[in-house]
């Protein structure tokens, strides 16, 4: 009977059923325990930043920035814990952090959970600078030399606040004018910002009354002032001494600004600009035909990396030569020459030094002649791909920035009757 195939098959099935039943019964007892363990593991980092918490409840919120992974409310009314993950750092891998924010809107605990970056921004010290900060993050700054990683971290913390503020859970902190001004500067004043949007400026002390802060841009073609006469203003000057004024809400209030004050700021700013006109003229003269007559024109209302503009009249036509000074690798100022024809299309392109510190850096592919020739004939609707140098991202971004700025300046110049 033991050899009967059907009996054997039934035996197999029977044993299977018995084992399955035993497993299912055990599951009834162990499943809750396993669930509790999993939950405990999830809550562990939350207790890490808020040890005195009595428990957490996960919140489902709308309109949360994408760097925020989860938001938790502490059951005893102590506040909130937000977990964030940002890949906007240098390597593009995720920096993870957990931050505890009290109901007053201040940071009471912060921990850096994962840091895949190549340069250390002070993993033990930098997050600690955020303790006690409110949503303005006024007391924190970006770490010099590790700007991408530290600004990614800082922006993630700002996003954590944003998630809570936009859902009405805490009140936003009030920013001091100094903070508003310094945050507005790279946004409205492209001359001062590198392609990642971080301001490249150095402070100087102004002799004009009412000035609370004065900066010149590192590429030498822009000056910015924080002026206060009861209200706070950001005043920016370009290399042609054309200026714009903004209030703290980023409104353009140039027309209502005191002209006399503008005049005194302007004459001081003129002295702070780098004298690049004659040098640029010599360089661009080589890019156009020999019989060209070069005349410098001012760029009113254009606040980007364009330093000087020359109109070149020759027998073959009229060309516009733009010298741009964008921030490239390691935030060094590059000098890029873009010559446009009278239709605004690129006639020729050149640069002083495409790869900065070329003797130390070789992980890129660049054939200079064909690279430069690749820009000829492009117009404002170009895709940007022609600027890409494989392996040299920051240089590529700077070149792209320079060409876009040249097109923008052409729009301002050609529109007028210069």
């Amino acid at each position: 009977m033991a050899n009967n195939k059907t009996i054997q098959a039934l035996l197999l099935v029977a044993v299977f059923v018995v084992m399955a039943a035993l497993v299912l019964v055990l599951n009834i007892f162990t499943a809750p325990l396993i669930e509790a363990n999993a939950q405990g593991a999830e809550l562990e980092p939350l207790y890490g930043v808020m040890p005195e918490a009595s428990g957490f409840e996960k919140l489902e919120l709308d309109g949360v920035p994408e760097t925020v992974s989860s938001v938790w409310k502490e059951n005893g009314g102590l506040g909130y814990v937000v977990r964030c993950a940002t890949n906007k750092g240098f390597t593009g891998d995720y920096i993870e952090l957990t931050v505890a924010i009290t109901v007053d809107g201040k940071i009471s605990g912060i921990s850096l959970d994962s840091y895949p970056e190549t340069k250390d921004f002070g993993q033990d010290t930098y997050p600690a600078t955020f303790m006690g900060q409110d949503s303005t993050l006024a007391g924190t700054s970006i770490v010099a030399g590790v700007t991408y990683s530290s600004s990614a971290f800082r922006n993630a913390v700002a996003d954590a606040f944003e998630a809570l503020i936009s859902n009405g859970l805490i009140k936003a902190g009030v920013k001091e004018p100094s903070q508003v001004i310094s945050e507005m500067l790279p946004v409205v004043f492209k001359t001062a910002a590198n392609p990642a949007g971080i301001a490249q400026i150095s402070e100087f002390s102004s002799a004009v009354a009412g000035v609370k802060g004065a900066w010149k841009t590192n590429n030498g073609i822009g000056v910015a002032y924080w002026y206060e006469n009861g209200d706070d203003y950001l005043v920016i000057f370009n290399s042609s001494l054309s200026y714009k004024v903004f209030d703290l809400e980023s409104n353009d209030v140039t027309s209502s600004f005191d002209a006399a004050v503008a005049e005194s700021l302007s004459s001081e700013a003129a002295g702070k600009m780098s004298k690049v006109a004659s040098k640029d003229k010599r360089k661009v003269a080589k890019l156009v035909s020999e019989d060209s007559v070069l005349e410098q024109i001012s760029v009113d209302g254009v606040f980007n990396s364009v330093a000087t503009v020359f109109r070149a009249d020759s027998a073959s036509g009229t060309y516009y030569c733009f010298t741009c000074r964008p921030y490239g690798f390691s935030n060094e100022t590059m000098v890029i020459y873009v010559v446009l024809d009278s239709n605004g299309l690129i006639y020729t392109f050149n640069a002083d030094e495409l790869i900065i510190e070329a003797e130390y850096f070789s992980a890129y592919t660049l054939e200079p002649t064909s690279y430069k020739a690749g820009f000829v004939g492009l117009g404002p609707s170009w895709s940007g791909d022609e600027a890409v140098i494989s392996g040299a991202t920051m240089t590529s971004q700077a070149v792209r920035c320079a060409i876009d700025d040249a097109f923008e300046a052409f729009g301002a110049v050609a529109g007028g009757n210069n």
């Binding site: 084992m19 299912l24 055990l26 009834i28």
Partner: protein, 182 residues
């Protein structure tokens, strides 16, 4: 997942996460009775590849649609039964070719391991299949390498205590260091 990503998953299972050398599964079948015949090695590799792909193809939908809720605890049992059935069926297929397999090959933990990992890693059905293919190919790769390596070892020269299994494992150790470079 795009096709490129699927191929990448497959290659990951062959080299970087080689199931035998990195995940330790299927060691038993690689280590025992490594024949010097290329034909039998190839058949063994094909058998395992077929078994693992077929098992993954069956177990993934089973887990997704049948084993829900409390029944998820039955996953290991059900998968083991499926793997066993598939291995036996595949073994029958190969019997016609005249090769029969040692028991350790048929009880290959790599097959069950692949099925379980596909589910716990949250792979999609296609990604799981490609991973399975990679597992099989990786297994074949290791078998061939080990056959070559063991073929060069003359057991008479090996100290008594090391003969047979221990020297095989030591050889696997060195091969794994090579693949760890990936």
């Amino acid at each position: 997942m795009t096709f490129k990503e699927l191929i990448a998953v497959m290659f990951a299972c062959v080299l970087a996460n080689n199931f035998v050398l990195s995940n330790f599964m299927g060691i038993e079948s690689v280590g025992s009775d490594i024949s010097k015949s290329w034909r039998s090695m190839a058949f063994r590799g094909l058998y395992v590849t077929l078994a693992v792909v077929a098992s993954c193809a069956i177990t993934w939908p089973l887990d997704a649609y049948v084993l829900v809720g409390a029944a998820a605890s039955l996953r290991i049992l059900v998968f083991a039964v499926v793997v066993m059935a598939v291995s036996a069926a595949a073994g029958l297929l190969f019997k016609k070719d005249g090769s029969s397999f040692d028991l350790p090959v048929m009880l290959n933990s790599a097959v069950l391991g692949a099925c379980l990992l596909n589910v716990s890693n949250g792979y999609t059905f296609l990604a799981g299949l490609f991973c399975a293919l990679g597992v099989g190919l990786g297994y074949m790769l290791v078998t061939f390498i080990m056959a070559g390596v063991m073929g060069r070892i003359n057991m008479k020269n090996v100290p008594k205590a090391w003969r047979g299994v221990p020297i095989t494992v030591a050889a696997i150790a060195i091969v794994s260091m090579v693949l760890a470079a990936f």
